[in-house]
Amino acid sequence: MTLKLIGALLTLLVPSWIGFRIAARYGRRPVELRAFQNGLAVLATEVEYGATPMPDALLSAARAAGGIAGAILADAAYRLLEGGGITPGEALRAALEQHREATCLTPADLEILTALTPVLGASDRRDQVRHLRLALERLVGAEAEAAEERRRYEPMYRYVGVLSGLALVLILI
């Protein structure tokens, strides 16, 4: 009997856990998009008013962003500081590639950031700020979409997880 109970509990828990995991991804995506917005906003300010060299500017952006977004920006900064003939764009691209699995961003979200890589640090202040602002706007758009999806799917996947667990238990009993 006890064994049956434990089995039933596990059968319930595993699909629920999976459902919560999927739901959490929907929850984290807007948060990460918001973090990148904060990061890029700081980057734009550093470039526009501070004329701060790129590695330092990326590090302050990383501090402002926090979380996985901060980790990606900081990674790009360190790659740049390491040298070896790479440009800021290549550093950012490599950092995005490295952490791609750890983020909850969709390929479309990541594309907004990779679109920055050919120009990052490569032109005058006005041009840099224009590109950063454009990326910011696109991130805001993506965040709105992500928030909508979160509203729709986050509770749904939780229910689906728990309910399919229950269903499994009922079928197996």
């Binding site: 004329a51 060299p53 550093a91 490569a122």
Partner: protein, 320 residues
């Protein structure tokens, strides 16, 4: 052997492919390297004291541009990015004036497509030519010259005249260094020197700190227009000598006159191949006429850069 400064300060900032080619080619040069010239889709040229050569595939030297290795657009872009430390926006003023300064005081001339606004250059994009000038510090370059410029423990206001590439800036730098340090054998105490380094060529400042030895008593006003800079130095830094590279505009002359009236000795350079040349330039002619300078020094490349052709005593000649 590749000189240390080149290996340390320049090659890490070039596209790795170009750096490797230059590293292999430089030891074979018959003279010291002066310039590395990289042009998009064209041969890579090395200029040394006494001539020039192109780099062939594998890093060999060749005189035939058709057989030379070409720099790609990407090489140029990457090198420019690296030299700007990935932050082109931070050197906006410099890029607009067509140069970057590297650590060590090496100057990189830029050429490409100009983006203009209201008739002025706003920025350069698609940088297509880089001229990397390897800075040479020649301590003691001014040794033979200095005794002529000092009388009774006093430094005499001096005008250095030279055609381009004849070691004008190197000479100026060493004079500044020695004046600032003091020269006991001439009875010259260390003087407070104010240096206006409009194009960051003399002191090679990066982040405000001189990368070249300009002496312990030298204040450098970096990247500042000469006329305004000279006035600022005289007003607020009480220099005993003011120095500047390449004067020639009317406002420069005015500022120099101001300095002389304030009892400050002046050390400046001007482009030209002789006094006769300079007298044709209104601004400098005025200065010469006023008796402002006590010495004029003519430089040439006849026996290598920094050859002193003549030292003229302007005070005695009563130049008219």
């Amino acid at each position: 052997m590749v000189p240390g400064a080149l290996e340390r300060e320049i090659l890490p900032l070039m596209a790795p492919r170009l750096a490797e080619l230059v590293r292999r080619a430089v030891p074979a040069l018959p003279g010291p390297l002066e310039e590395i010239r990289v042009r998009a889709e064209r041969p890579i040229q090395l200029v040394y004291l006494g001539g020039d050569a192109f780099i062939a595939p594998g890093g060999h030297l060749t005189a035939d541009p058709a057989r030379a290795e070409r720099a790609t657009q990407d090489d140029l872009f990457r090198t420019f990015q690296l030299m700007a430390r990935g932050s082109v926006y931070a050197w906006e003023e410099e890029v607009r004036s067509g140069f970057l300064t590297l650590e060590g005081g090496h100057r990189v001339g830029l050429c490409g497509r100009a983006v203009t606004e209201g008739g002025r250059i706003r920025t350069l994009k698609q940088v297509a030519s880089l001229n990397i000038r390897v800075a040479r510090e020649v301590p003691g370059a001014a040794d033979p010259l200095l005794p002529h410029l000092v009388r009774g423990g006093r430094f005499l206001s001096t005008l250095l005249i030279s055609p381009p590439q004849a070691g004008k800036t190197t000479m100026l730098r060493d004079l500044v260094r020695q004046l600032s340090t003091g020269v006991p054998r001439l009875g010259l105490p260390g003087l407070k020197v104010g240096l206006v380094d409009e194009r960051s060529e003399v002191a090679g400042c990066r982040g405000g700190v001189p990368q070249r030895d300009v002496g312990p008593r030298t204040d450098v006003l970096d990247g500042c227009p000469k006329a305004e800079g000279l006035m600022l130095l005289i007003r607020s830094l009480s220099p005993q000598v003011v120095a500047a590279d390449e004067v020639g505009r009317p406002e420069d002359a005015e500022a120099l006159m101001e300095a002389l009236h304030a009892g400050v000795a002046v050390l400046v350079t001007a482009h030209g191949s002789g006094l006769a040349d300079l007298r044709k330039r209104p601004a400098v002619a005025g200065l010469l006429k006023s008796g402002a300078f006590e010495r004029a020094v003519l430089l040439s490349r006849r026996r290598g850069p920094g050859t002193v052709e003549a030292v003229l005593d302007l005070a005695r000649e009563g130049v008219a």
